[in-house]
């Protein structure tokens, strides 16, 4: 069992007040809070280890490089990647997806197809729209069912030898659906298509093993898993990353530069142009250590408990409609109250110290799908409690009374 009060004590922000109330932070899908060890890792880096990485001969440069590469090792182990150089440091999930989309278009011909789903975050839609536009390929969309799951039969029918890439989320940030990515990967590979998984909402909630999962690309953000902002991961299989053209250029991604021609460095440097977010990468290791110490499976189990509790309490409020009701769900609850605008609910519960997100969650096609302007979203993390859920439910009830 997890000792949640001990976990909470590691997050300094959780003891702050908001509008005179204890903060209840339920906006974890947007970004999580940070434990003290992550905060300390950044401070310590700057106070004791800071230097630019990779090319320096001097002691600090070596130290910073070792710390930086230690993070890469840690992440490799955390996601079960085969090679260390399959881990590329980016700015975030959005950056990772853009990197792939920008390179992948050079593999595409007119008439080729990319498949995404109706459930995707804008960051896993727009890069593919642009990629298709620039390569003359077609974008195909897997619709979602009323319960928030992808229509898998529709997907199987979409798949063909024209399919070159399937890009879908592991967990929907707007609905919480845990998608059957194993099946999607298997079926996609059977027609020879590559698969990119947007794991932004999954990476600290589901235990990952790239070698088993067999995804060709997997993307996630440190800031959604107790790590710093400005750090993301692109995992890619070695051979595909080798085939992909470089994305940004300059700095460390170069082997030789001259005006008659430039050659590029090997993986992972080929995709890491410019001075990286060194302090962020170094501190990300502490976030992974934090997660590994708790164990992802135990986190998932506790979050499942919170999800069940919050869902059943919420459904006791008359007029609540939850969007996303699939059996396999992450601890994300998107809902509306009949006749009320999500923005109004968010404004009022905020005054009671409760941080929930309202709006379209950067997933406008889903809002269109359900014909709503947005939803109220509760997204839970391992430091949340049933008591907090009670406070939130009461606040929502209060909002409902005020607004009705």
């Amino acid at each position: 069992m997890l000792d949640v009060s001990k976990i909470r004590s590691q997050f300094p922000i959780l003891s702050r007040k908001v509008n005179g109330q204890n903060l209840v932070y339920f906006d974890n899908g947007a970004t999580t809070q940070k434990p003290q060890i992550v905060i300390d890792a950044e401070s310590k880096y700057y106070a004791n280890q800071n230097s630019n990485v990779h090319r320096g001969v001097h002691f600090l440069s070596g130290l910073a490089t070792d710390k930086f590469e230690e993070s890469r090792n840690t992440i490799q182990n955390f996601i079960g990647a085969k090679h260390k150089h399959e881990i590329i440091f980016t700015k975030g999930t959005t950056d990772s997806i853009n990197l792939v989309a920008s390179g992948f278009k050079t593999f595409l011909n007119k008439g080729d197809e990319i498949i995404i789903s109706e459930q995707e975050h804008h960051s896993n839609i727009v890069p593919w729209q642009i990629c298709c536009e620039q390569s003359g390929s077609n974008l195909k969309v897997i619709p979602i069912l009323d319960n928030g799951e992808m229509d898998m039969d529709f997907f199987y029918n979409l798949l063909s030898e024209n399919t070159k890439l399937v890009a879908v989320s592991h967990i929907s940030n707007a609905l919480g659906t845990i998608n059957n990515v194993e099946k999607i990967i298997e079926k996609s590979h059977s027609v020879g298509a590559k698969v990119l998984i947007d794991g932004a909402q999954a990476a600290s909630h589901i235990s990952l093993n790239m070698q088993k999962l067999d995804a060709d690309f997997y993307c996630f953000s440190a800031h959604k898993m107790f790590g710093p902002t400005g750090v993301g991961i692109l995992y890619g299989k070695e051979d595909i990353l080798n085939a992909l053209p470089p994305y940004q250029s300059g700095g460390e991604m170069i082997k030789e530069v001259s005006f008659s021609g430039t050659t590029y460095a090997d993986l992972p440097h080929k995709f890491e142009a410019g001075t990286p977010n060194i302090s962020g990468v170094v501190a990300f290791k502490s976030a992974i250590d934090f997660i590994s110490n708790l164990e992802v499976n135990k986190i998932a189990k506790y979050e499942e408990e919170l999800l069940q509790y919050a869902t059943s309490e919420l459904l006791k409020i008359e007029g609540v409609r939850i969007y996303g009701t699939s059996k396999k769900k992450s601890a994300i609850i998107s809902f509306n109250l009949e006749g009320l605008h999500p923005y109004d609910i968010g404004m009022i519960v905020d005054k009671m110290g409760i941080a929930i997100r309202t709006g379209h969650h950067c997933a406008q096609p889903i809002m269109e799908r359900f014909n709503i302007p947005g939803t109220v979203r509760i997204s839970l993390a391992v430091y949340n409690t049933k008591e907090e859920i009670d406070l939130c439910i009461n606040a929502i009830k209060k909002a409902k009374i005020m607004l009705s």
């Binding site: 509008n19 605008h341 999500p342 109004d344 607004l403």
Partner: protein, 140 residues
């Protein structure tokens, strides 16, 4: 007709009576509910001011040296604030509107809702109200 300054003063006095945010929000919700409806034919996308979350429709008419604003929003709290802004600016003459300092916003504790970083479209709405005023003042 009161001046913009006088109306602001009244609003500040109104808000001074509230003991907590609940009373204030309830008042805004009431104002929102009572806001004179916008003519449906003006509730069109040309008149839409998009915040990220709540939408505001704004229409302006110019007659006898004064601007009459009508507006709507899909969120009731936003609509309440819209109602106050209309209360302050509607019926005034263009040059007064164009140069008006909306100090009351700070004093009644709505500063946050009306900060440029908020996603409710209200800042753009004020900008749009003033743009109308500048346009109409050129017709004077």
């Amino acid at each position: 007709m009161h001046t913009i300054k006088e109306i602001q003063k009244e609003i500040i006095e109104d808000f001074a009576m509230f003991e907590d945010w609940i009373q204030k929000y309830e008042y805004l919700i009431d104002l929102g509910k009572e806001l004179a409806p916008i003519d449906q034919k003006y509730k069109i996308s040309e008149n839409l001011i998009k915040g990220c979350q709540s939408r505001v429709w704004l229409h302006a008419e110019y007659a006898e040296g004064k601007i009459i604003y009508t507006a709507d929003s899909d969120a009731i709290m936003t609509k309440g604030i819209v109602a106050i802004l209309i209360n302050v600016l509607s019926g005034q003459n263009p040059s007064e509107i164009a140069t008006a300092k909306l100090d009351f916003i700070n004093e009644i504790g709505l500063k946050e809702q009306l900060s440029p970083t908020r996603a409710n479209g209200l800042v753009s709405m004020i900008k749009q109200m003033k743009l109308y005023a500048i346009a109409f003042s050129k017709q004077q």
